[in-house]
């Protein structure tokens, strides 16, 4: 099979070189390749060691090192954002590095966050009339080649299976990077008449893209996602669906993940390979970089033409279907971490948090144990009955202080402390994660079940709202309206987002990227008032575009 396209400069060569190299060499090259991602290399190194023994030793060393630093388990976010992120991912046991470079093992706490994303979105999809299905992971290369732009965009990133069951395959099979091609191959068979439309499907699956600069959750060689694929009779319906699903994402991001996003349209350069138009939600991370958190594509009839997906309309005429596809991935988990986290670690929005409330009994004397335990168990079951995700940590090998730190790092929104004196007064201490220190503590919260549950539920709502407000405030304070290229350069140099009227060409856009490393994130749906003069070219501009450095 002839593979077209030149590869991304340097990257793949480096990759295969790295793979040829062995042992230490490999690690050294890995460092070169990944030097921009601080911290990752060390763990990379650890994973590349084939022997578990060595891994163990290294980990012990790491743990030892962590202990010496004192109580703090993660590098403060304010000190080094990149290292903070990797520390949080490791220490909160969200993910580990996989055996193949660029892959990750999603640990239960991280996976529970993904399950939160899944359950909310799956419900929203079903409410909007979509059904789940499952398409095979292995796709004949020839399918991809049918849509020219699509294959051009994806060819460099494809993983190809050429051997199976000890034999060479007739035709290489692609490990799906996305499923438009196989979906269309089937749609062409399933769709016959206008009565079969709209066809609204979704699948939850893993996909692979051979990425070079990987980062847990944010960019990995394998990631989990959902991909929606729909077919419609008219271009208008396809467009409506494309926007509808972007709005579903926007709603989820804001109202569940407490992640304020800017919804808008991608530029031609940044659009999906094979789409007429791509829409996106863009979020600002704690380091003020942009994260594309979800995309929805209007595919027009591009794939329909390549695959012959046609239907008989009411007049008996054969017509091509018009399609959309849309996806949100485990990257969303990275977005949640980087939007809300602080120096102490994670801060999870209550609607997403696998543990919404942690109860820590404070027992200093054996004599107090019985009373305190009875009280905390009462609180636990009251919360459970009310549908609150609660954890009672009654383990005895760790001190309450250690637990406070631990759950703070893990971002549990609300902590309840109960000691002997609290039991006496039938009131407890409740601390919220989003407000640090004493200010976030409430004393004398009644322990009577109904009142306690109502209090905690109210507090969870408050934390949810406050995280969203904080993130929105932070974002808005870091967007600069620009009217000249110099202003954009200055804003981007400060790490901020720049927003200004834009009428530049594709080449102009590339130039901005090369010179500032900021990319055109989107043309926001909600357009601010503007001068109508392109900040770069001075030509009349209809729209304001948003530029930022991005993940």
């Amino acid at each position: 099979m002839q593979l077209t396209r030149t590869i991304v400069p340097g990257c793949l060569r480096l990759c295969s070189a790295a793979q040829r190299a062995s042992g230490r060499q490999l690690v050294r090259r890995g460092r070169v390749a990944l030097s921009t991602v601080a911290g990752e290399v060390a763990t990379e190194q650890q994973q590349q060691q084939p022997k578990q023994q060595k891994q163990k030793q290294q980990q012990k060393q790491q743990q030892g090192g962590g202990g010496k630093k004192g109580e703090r388990l993660v590098t403060p976010k304010s000190e080094d954002f990149s290292r903070w992120y990797l520390d949080v991912v490791r220490e909160c046991q969200l993910a580990d590095y996989g055996p193949v470079r660029g892959t990750m093992v999603i640990r239960p706490y991280g996976y529970a966050l993904w399950e939160g994303v899944q359950s909310h979105l799956d419900k929203a999809f079903k409410e909007t009339g979509h059904q789940n299905a499952y398409f095979p992971q292995l796709i004949p290369y020839s399918f991809l080649a049918k849509e020219a732009e699509h294959v051009e965009g994806f060819a460099p990133e494809l993983a190809l299976v050429t051997k199976g069951g000890g034999k060479d395959l007739e035709e290489p099979l692609v490990v799906r990077p996305t499923s438009e091609t196989i979906v269309n191959h089937m749609f062409a068979q399933w769709v016959q008449s206008y009565r079969d439309l709209p066809l609204l499907l979704n699948q939850w699956a893993n996909v692979h893209r051979w990425e070079m600069r990987t980062r847990p959750f944010v960019r990995t060689l394998e990631f989990l996602w959902q991909e929606g694929h729909t077919a419609h009779a008219t271009p208008e319906e396809a467009e409506e669906e494309t926007i509808r699903m972007l709005r579903v994402y926007e709603d989820f991001a804001c109202n569940v993940a407490a992640m304020p996003v800017i919804a808008g349209r991608k530029s031609r350069i940044e659009s999906f390979a094979g789409a007429n138009c791509t829409y996106t939600i863009e979020a600002m991370m704690g380091d003020r970089k942009a994260l594309q958190a979800g995309t929805s594509h209007n595919l027009g009839d591009n794939f329909a033409k390549a695959f012959g997906t046609r239907y008989l309309d009411e007049a008996g005429q054969l017509q091509y279907v018009h399609q959309s596809s849309w996806g949100v991935s485990t990257r969303m988990v990275g977005g949640i971490i980087m939007t809300h986290g602080d120096d102490a670690g994670l801060r999870l929005p209550p609607r997403m948090a696998p543990i919404q409330v942690v109860i820590v009994p404070i027992i200093k004397k054996e004599a107090d144990a019985e009373g305190v335990m009875a009280a905390v168990q009462g609180l636990e079951s009251a919360l459970k009955a009310a549908g609150v995700r609660v954890l009672l940590d009654a383990t005895t090998d760790k001190t309450p202080g250690w637990k406070f730190n631990q759950y703070e790092m893990k971002g549990v929104p609300v902590r309840v402390e109960v000691g002997p004196r609290d039991v006496e007064q039938n009131a407890c201490v409740v601390a919220r994660r989003d407000v640090p220190g004493k200010e976030g503590k409430q004393f004398g919260v009644p322990m009577e079940a109904a009142a306690f549950v109502a209090h905690v539920q109210g507090l969870l709502e408050e934390v949810q709202a406050s995280l969203l407000a904080q993130a929105r405030e932070f974002r808005d304070a870091n967007i600069v309206d620009v009217s000249s290229y110099e202003e954009l350069q200055a804003a981007v140099a400060e790490g901020k987002w720049a927003r200004g009227p834009w009428a530049g060409s594709d080449d102009d856009e590339r130039r901005v990227k090369e010179e500032t490393s900021a990319t055109l994130r989107c043309f926001p749906f909600e357009q601010p008032q503007h001068s109508g003069v392109c900040f770069l070219t001075g030509a009349p501009a209809k729209e304001v575009a948003l530029f930022a450095k991005a993940y």
Partner: protein, 570 residues
């Protein structure tokens, strides 16, 4: 965690599955599995737009053909250019979703957490455990290229995840406080087999859950093995209305790396074959010793952990189809049906526009009532199909209840309820539907199970001699026989009837080794004689009848140790 040997030794059902299954042939368009056979037009009232419906094969007459038709025509499965890979269409995926939701909630109650380990495995990691891997190696699919560049070392796609997961377990587990560690993942796996693929039952890619748990003591591990096994039984019996037998695998049939393997075994009376429904293994300390999964006990000593693994696959759906389906199509038990009730308005040509509208409005109102009562209901409002065609359409898809609403029903304020499983009909006043339908669905679920259970039980013959054993197999039954529980005697059973027993496992690795066309032909040739393939132990049922002391083994005549369930199997 179906053991590789089980996977290999198992047989293919797809007597009539699409021919494109043969590897090496040019990929063919497999739009319809039986495109060459003329299709019988059923219920086609001659309307031009109506597409043909129905099955040409009968379940009793040609089971293999029937099965491959029914899964396609009911829109559960679509075939695809890559042989052995299928599309799970919404209609079948919804069943998997039901199974998944139910099982996931139950294991979380037990304290199991979900996680995700990568699909890609380096050669080194895959080969960590030689014996374990040997079984899977011939089935592995390899990624050898990224973009246009060759990888220096190929990367395997997981056939199962033990070797990926356990090195992490060794890292994560330090002390007894880290135990138990109970993880599960819902994933796809790929096993590049050359046997005749069969939708759901045997495919090169399938979906499953694999649970991998670690305990400090054997007792805890033992307890979990049976807890999970019982959940598997409930998936089959309570959700899918498929009776199963819980049992222990013989030492020959158990998972290679396991201390012992338990399973639930289903049986397809039509084909006379057992199907391994799911397995729950106690791995003992075998893997923890190989992967160094150790923990510090409370007494500060180091000890190897005890492990289990357990898996349930999309095979469940295939077993359900085989068990309940009939010549009209699939029959789906109410609890897992995506659509439990279809409402079909039956306007006739005499009805005026207003009367038709009133009927459609009534249909919607009934659907709304049922929905409010928690019933999954749809109204078939299509005006380009006749009611008769619609009956066939929904019967083919196995919707448990059809609610008919005709002109006379409109007059008397009732609706007709027709059951898919037994054709039973009853009339019900509109006002009572919301209460009656959920009850009827539950009753249907129970009766489907009872019927299948009675059939299952009638297919078990208790035998004590070799001749009776053979006679039972002749009658396409299972045989419950006193057995001395030795590997030799199980071998003996495979050897004795000359036409039986050529375990695929013995030549598949060979095929892998020699890689010749001849060997491939050999596979085909032997597969073609699969009706003659031998019986093996399905399991040693956990519930044992009395075994009087001195009862001789039906094979060897030595004193029997247990009753074992034997049969041909998939």
């Amino acid at each position: 965690m179906a053991a590789p040997e089980e996977q290999m030794a198992a047989l293919s059902v797809a007597d009539g599955a699409p021919a494109a299954a043969a590897e090496g042939g040019k990929p063919k368009k497999e739009k319809k599995p039986k495109a060459d056979k003329p299709k019988q037009q059923q219920g086609g009232e001659g309307k031009k737009k109506e597409t043909k419906l129905g099955l040409t094969a009968s379940k009793e007459g040609d089971f293999g053909d029937w099965y491959s038709q029914v899964v396609v025509e009911s829109e559960m499965i679509s075939y695809y250019d890559v042989s052995g890979c299928y599309i799970l269409r919404p209609y079948s995926f919804a069943i998997w979703d039901e199974i998944k939701n139910w099982f996931d909630a139950r294991i979380k109650e037990l304290g199991v957490q979900n996680a995700y380990f990568p699909l890609f495995i380096t050669e080194d990691v895959l080969m960590t455990e030689k014996e374990h891997v040997e079984g899977f190696a011939p089935e592995v699919a390899w990624v050898t290229k990224s973009g246009s560049s060759e990888l220096d070392r190929p990367i395997a796609i997981r056939p199962t995840s033990e070797t990926v997961m356990y090195p992490y377990y060794a890292q994560w587990i330090r002390s007894h406080r880290d135990l138990p560690l109970r993880l599960n993942q819902w994933t796809n796996v790929v096993r590049w087999e050359f046997k005749h693929p069969t939708p759901f039952i045997r495919s090169r890619e399938f979906l499953w859950q694999e649970g991998h748990t670690v305990f400090a003591t054997k007792e805890e591990a033992d307890t979990e093995v049976y807890q999970i096994l019982d959940l598997y039984r409930r998936v089959y019996e309570e959700l899918l209305a498929v009776p199963v037998c819980k049992g222990m695998k013989s030492s020959k049939e158990k998972f290679a790396g396991a201390l012992y393997t338990t399973s639930v075994e289903a049986f397809i009376p039509t084909s006379g074959r057992g199907v391994q429904g799911a397995t729950s293994h106690c791995l003992g300390q075998n893997f923890s010793k190989m992967f160094g999964i150790e923990f510090e006990t409370e007494e500060k000593t180091r000890q190897h952990a005890w492990q289990n693994s357990w898996g349930l696959t999309t095979r469940t759906i295939g077993v359900m189809v085989m068990t309940h389906g009939d010549d009209k199509g699939v029959v789906i038990p109410p609890r897992v049906a995506q659509i439990q009730v279809v409402v079909i308005p039956i306007p006739n040509s005499k009805l005026g526009e207003e009367a038709v509208k009133a009927m459609l409005d009534r249909a919607d109102a009934i659907a709304a009532d049922l929905k409010a009562a928690g019933v999954r209901v749809t109204v078939d409002r299509r005006d380009n199909y006749t009611p008769g065609w619609k009956y066939n359409f929904w019967e083919l898809r196995g919707v448990p209840l059809r609610l008919e609403l005709g002109p006379r029903d409109m007059d008397s304020g009732v609706a007709m309820l027709a059951r898919r499983d037994n054709g039973g009909k009853q009339s019900c006043a509109w006002g009572e539907l919301a209460a009656a339908v959920p009850k009827l669905l539950e009753q249907q679920q129970a009766e489907m199970y009872a019927k299948a259970r009675a059939e299952f039980d009638s297919c078990i013959e208790r035998v004590t001699t070799w001749d009776d054993f053979m006679a039972a197999l002749e009658r396409k039954h299972m045989a419950l026989a006193p057995w001395c529980d030795t590997e030799e005697s199980e071998e003996e059973v495979k050897r004795r009837p000359p036409c039986l027993a050529i375990p695929l496992a013995t030549y598949l690795p060979l095929l892998f080794m020699c890689d010749t066309e001849e060997s491939e032909e050999e596979v085909k040739r032997r597969s073609a004689t699969k009706d003659a393939m031998g019986a093996k132990t399905l399991c040693i049922p956990l519930e044992q009848p009395d075994l009087p002391e001195g009862t001789p083994c039906f094979v060897t005549g030595a004193p029997a140790k247990c009753w074992a369930l034997w049969g041909r199997s998939y």
